[in-house]
């Protein structure tokens, strides 16, 4: 059984954007509102955490963040207008481009920021992190590869699975070279989710899990991890072991969130935030600002909004009767879910410290763009479904 193909009339971009049957009206409104709300909250939090910086003017980072969000929104809209089935055709191109950029990072063109050699500096204070773009690109390629089931079954062909693993392995290899453990983990989650939802056998899933555990053990005991990564894990198991060193982030993060109590201290009123006690507060630890300044209610709102995004994503995936679309949507949901849980979890002390941003909320150029493109893809899948 082959996927049905719908013929689309050639129309101008403008009429597709705002016409009576334009994509915008067929979008998932709840998803749109939730993402917009998260971006708005994120903007306030980024502002609050960066306005006391000595190096830039108080609204400097805010302006950069808003600019990125605008670019992201445009990209999201453009992607949403594309028929998602056409995305399938673009998948190899997108993957090749992302792969090329990733490879470029390893060359002298790449730059190191905060100990991570994952950047290509563009000038004007903007940089590109190809590993972020690799996430949606890999989703597209993997979904394309395994969406065609074997003859007479609803399971992917072993050859396709092998190819998918090869593509994922190559990408992860390049990311590991940077090294970026967090992104590698996200790519692993993406690969696993695509394969699982494509319908591979449970024993394969079990096999993958066993391999993952063995690999993790190998990485741990063979000393492939950087000392700081080991220390982060130790500190997670026992934050009091080194409160001034690695445990500092975890301790300060908990203090900031905990001291917000029910209603929070109010925007710009968080003493821990103003005093910049939590490192990387505008990026990986943005959730602590929400916790301190908006309290339990605010922090819970952020979690609920992220939950809405995830649940809408799952709904979109379920409602899509096309395997490719469903796989893309499911992989995006898994990716966002993983990053949300790891990020929020580490700020409240139930996950080890990992350098992963909070989707839609954290400051971050390429990550925000990748997130918005992915939301665009979800919208495209939603509006492209047959009703």
């Amino acid at each position: 059984m082959s996927a049905p193909i719908t013929r689309i009339r050639k129309r101008s971009l403008a009429s597709r954007a705002i016409g009576t049957d334009a994509v915008v009206w067929r979008m998932d409104g709840v998803l749109l509102v939730a993402v917009a709300a998260l971006c708005t909250i994120g903007t306030l939090l980024v502002w609050s955490s960066t306005r006391t910086w000595a190096a830039v003017e108080p609204t400097g980072m805010l302006k950069k963040h808003l600019l990125i969000l605008c670019v992201g929104a445009v990209l999201c809209g453009l992607v949403a207008m594309v028929d998602y089935r056409r995305l399938r055709a673009y998948a190899p191109v997108a993957y090749a481009a992302a792969f090329a950029l990733l490879a470029l990072v390893i060359t002298p063109v790449g730059s190191t920021v905060n100990g991570s050699h994952s950047w290509i500096m563009l000038g004007g204070g903007f940089g590109l992190q190809p590993s972020e773009l690799a996430k949606p690109a890999l989703i597209l390629l993997l979904a394309m590869l395994v969406s065609e089931p074997a003859e007479g079954t609803d399971r992917p062909r072993p050859l396709d699975v092998t190819l998918a693993l090869l593509a994922a392995g190559l990408t992860m290899g390049l990311v590991m070279l940077q090294p970026d453990l967090g992104t590698t983990m996200v790519l692993t989650v993406i690969t696993a989710s695509v394969l699982i939802f494509a319908g591979i056998r449970k024993r394969w899933i079990a096999l993958v899990l066993v391999i993952a555990v063995v690999a993790a053990g190998f990485v741990w005991f063979a000393g492939l991890l950087q000392p700081y990564q080991v220390a982060r894990f130790t500190a997670f198991m026992n934050p009091a072991s080194d409160p001034r060193g690695v445990g500092y982030n975890a301790t300060q993060s908990l203090i900031a969130i905990g001291s917000g109590e029910v209603y929070g201290k109010g925007l710009f009123e968080g003493g821990q935030t103003t005093g910049r006690f939590v490192p990387e507060q505008h990026t990986d630890f943005i959730f602590t600002v929400a916790g301190e300044e908006f309290g339990f209610l605010g922090a819970l709102t952020v979690v609920v909004l992220l939950g809405v995004v995830l649940v809408r994503g799952i709904t979109i995936a379920r409602q899509c009767d096309d395997r490719f679309g469903a796989l893309v949507a499911a992989a995006i949901v898994c990716w966002f879910a993983f990053q949300t849980f790891i990020n929020v979890g580490m700020t409240i002390g139930i996950m080890p410290i990992t350098g992963l941003p909070l989707p839609f909320v954290s400051y971050g150029g390429t990550a925000t763009l990748a997130n918005m493109i992915s939301v665009g893809m979800l919208q495209a899948i939603h509006s492209g479904r047959r009703t």
Partner: protein, 681 residues
């Protein structure tokens, strides 16, 4: 697609479960443990900074400052913070070194803690306080540090008050000094425990120590909001400090200066003198008008950290231990100045005050002859002349007779010991209770004391009585020592007639401090009441109101009537004109101010005599008691008396200089301090 749908359901449930986990954990962190984290946050976000109160000044009786405050820009380094930095803050110290122009090694020296093997310069205070490394920085240097706090973490520059001494080394032992609070003291003082101020100094000696609490004031508290780097970004709470009280003393800076000069001159004139002390008391209230001790030192050495060399000098024997006030800590045999006590004892014991007593050149006390000064006999005389001419044999006889009446070598259980009892009534042998630290009680020896001494020294004495003193080269001396050891071993617990005789003329084992002697004379020529002398006169609050007027308490009464006191005073009134001090007071305008007094020349084995002159003026209605002691100064009339003369000349302005006290008496009213700190005289 069914399999996929089933797996979507699993995904859906997983996502919901994870979200619930996050929500529950948020509830736990923010609501259940919220209060705990609020407390943690306050602790990390704020820093309590003690704002030291301005220490009160110490003024003289006319309101002139003896100790005042100078404001200086002080750069301090937080050592705890330095130690957390790479290479113990080497980079920061290098930058600081460039700004201050002090080598890094020197800065490091000042930052280390004093302790065994670590000599000054080092930090004696708490390691948790910022340590001042430079107290003479310019505004420019301070601004460089304050404006670039990111480059100088742990380094602060602030205005601090430093002690300044307008009188230089005058009265340095009386005023005392400040030193950083030690860790132990800090822990004892609840209020200081959280202090982060480098100016927490504690009075270590003299008035600074005795009135430390009042002078200190109440430190203020500033709860400062800080960022991660410890940089202050706001003030959360502020309690202003309350400045310390001003201490007005009865010291007159001008008289003090005269005393210091007189003592220094006396030292110069007596080549072997190794120290001197002078005390000027206001007779009426028993307040201290001046108190000096030489060798002295400039208390400025304490300000801003003392070097090891300077510190050792202050403690060294060679420099004459200038830290020690000989006026209250130096104990010496008083010699003939002590006879006022012996005469009083005689009269109190029934010797007729107008009786005639023989003053032979020598008097047999038991089996041993006790000689007059130079063995000269002066013939029969009354007690008046005995004091003026300083006859010894009359007192030997009286002491011997008293000793015999007490039972001699088999003392009665109710022995009266009139001489010792009178000496104690004059305040000898115990602390005067002056408002200074480290006073010595001196010593009034008696039977009990002898017994204790014997018990303590018996073993050595008995061994020596057998072995002798082979290490002593002089054969006669060795034999004498052996005999002495033998006697002491055998009957050292006995109060022997010789002890009693020596006691009566202030020799032997009698030891007094110059202040005790002055205090005794003040009681004698005053109203007969013994008072505890005071230097502090009043404590004035920062707003100019009086916190406390300090009255010298009466601690005893002389057991002799006014007639006896007047008799003795009259006798002493002739000493300076016709007696043993006549030489020193030759040409002194006695018609303007008549000086009374008593010389003392106390023998010290192996050393020059201790020279004393205890005096009062005017003789009719005494307002001052002046006592000068010159250790190893020789005769009382030749070293101490001229110094006393110099002091009176200064006080009354008898040598052409304007008088130090134009009124002819010490200040009787407190200077008025305005709320702005100005002094109205």
């Amino acid at each position: 697609m069914n399999r996929m749908r089933a797996r979507f359901v699993v995904l859906h449930l997983t996502v919901l479960a994870l979200l619930i986990v996050l929500g529950v954990r948020l509830y736990q962190v923010q609501i259940v443990r919220g209060k705990e984290f609020v407390a943690d946050a306050t602790e990390t976000r704020t820093r309590a900074v003690m704002v030291p109160a301005l220490r009160g000044q110490i003024l003289d009786s006319a309101g002139r400052p003896l100790v005042r405050n100078l404001t200086r820009l002080v750069v301090s380094v937080d050592r705890t913070q330095m130690e957390r930095m790479p290479h113990a803050g080497q980079e920061v110290l290098e930058k600081l070194s460039a700004v201050l122009g002090t080598p890094v090694a020197k800065l490091r020296e000042r930052l280390r803690s004093c302790g065994p093997g670590v000599s000054r310069p080092c930090w004696t205070g708490s390691p948790y306080q910022p340590i001042p490394v430079d107290d003479r920085v310019t505004q420019r240097e301070a601004l460089t540090i304050l404006e670039r706090q990111e480059e100088f973490p742990g380094v602060t520059a602030e205005i601090q008050a430093l002690r300044d001494f307008p009188g230089g080394s005058d009265a340095s032992q009386v005023l005392g000094y400040l030193q950083p609070v030690t860790q132990e003291e800090l822990e004892k003082r609840q209020g200081l425990k959280t202090s982060f101020s480098g100016v927490d100094l504690v009075g270590r000696d003299g008035l600074e120590a005795v009135y430390d609490h009042q002078l200190r004031g109440t430190p203020g508290l500033r709860r400062v909001q800080v960022d991660r780097m410890g940089k202050a970004i706001g003030v959360e709470q502020q309690v202003p400090p309350v400045a310390g009280d001003t201490l007005i003393t009865s010291i007159d800076a001008k008289v003090q200066s005269i005393v210091e000069k007189a003592l220094a001159d006396a030292m110069k004139k007596a080549p072997q003198a190794d120290g001197a002390a002078g005390v000027v008391l206001d007779v009426r209230e028993n307040r201290v008008v001046a108190m000096g001790s030489v060798p002295t030192y400039d208390p400025k050495v304490w300000t801003g950290g003392i070097s090891e060399k300077e510190y050792q000098t202050l403690l060294s024997e060679k420099a004459g231990k200038p830290l020690v006030s000989r006026a209250i800590k130096g104990t010496f045999a008083p010699g003939s100045t002590f006879k006022v006590s012996s005469v009083s004892a005689m009269v109190a014991d029934g010797y007729p005050i107008n009786g005639i007593y023989d003053c032979p050149g020598s008097y047999m006390v038991g089996a041993r002859p006790f000689n007059n000064f130079r063995g000269i006999g002066l013939g029969p005389m009354n007690l008046h002349t005995a004091l003026v001419k300083s006859c010894d044999t009359i007192f030997y006889r009286a002491a011997y007779e008293m000793w015999q009446r007490d039972g001699g070598m088999q003392p009665k259980s109710n022995a009266k010991d009139p001489m010792a009892a009178m000496a104690r009534a004059y305040g000898f042998g115990k602390l005067t209770g002056i408002d200074l630290v480290g006073e010595s009680p001196g010593r009034i020896p008696d039977r009990f004391w002898k017994k204790e001494l014997w018990a303590a020294t018996r073993k050595t004495n008995c061994t020596r009585s057998k072995t002798g003193y082979p290490e002593v080269k002089d054969a006669a001396r060795a034999a004498f020592l052996k005999q002495l050891a033998y006697e002491n071993c055998l009957e050292g617990f006995q109060w022997r007639p010789g002890d009693a005789a020596n006691f009566s003329i202030g020799q032997g084992d009698v030891l007094v401090t110059p202040l005790q002697l002055a205090n005794a004379y003040a009681a004698l020529v005053g109203d007969g009441k013994v008072r505890s002398p005071r230097i502090g006169w009043a404590l004035i609050r920062p707003d100019g109101t009086s916190a406390k007027v300090i009255e010298p308490p009466v601690i005893g009464k002389l057991p002799i009537d006014k007639k006896t006191r007047d008799y003795i005073r009259n006798a002493l009134s002739e000493v300076a004109s016709d007696g043993t001090a006549a030489g020193a007071f030759g040409g002194f305008p006695m018609d303007k101010v008549r000086i009374g007094g008593k010389t003392g020349t106390a023998e010290v084995y192996g050393k020059q005599d201790t020279s004393w002159f205890a005096s009062f003026a005017p003789t009719k209605n005494p307002r001052f008691v002046v006592v000068v002691m010159v250790s190893q100064g020789g005769m009382g009339g030749s070293a101490a008396a001229p110094a006393v003369r110099q002091i009176y000349e200064g006080i009354y302005g008898l040598t052409g200089q304007p008088p130090a006290l134009p009124a002819g008496h010490p200040a009787e009213r407190l200077p008025v301090i305005g709320p702005d700190g100005t002094v109205k005289r």
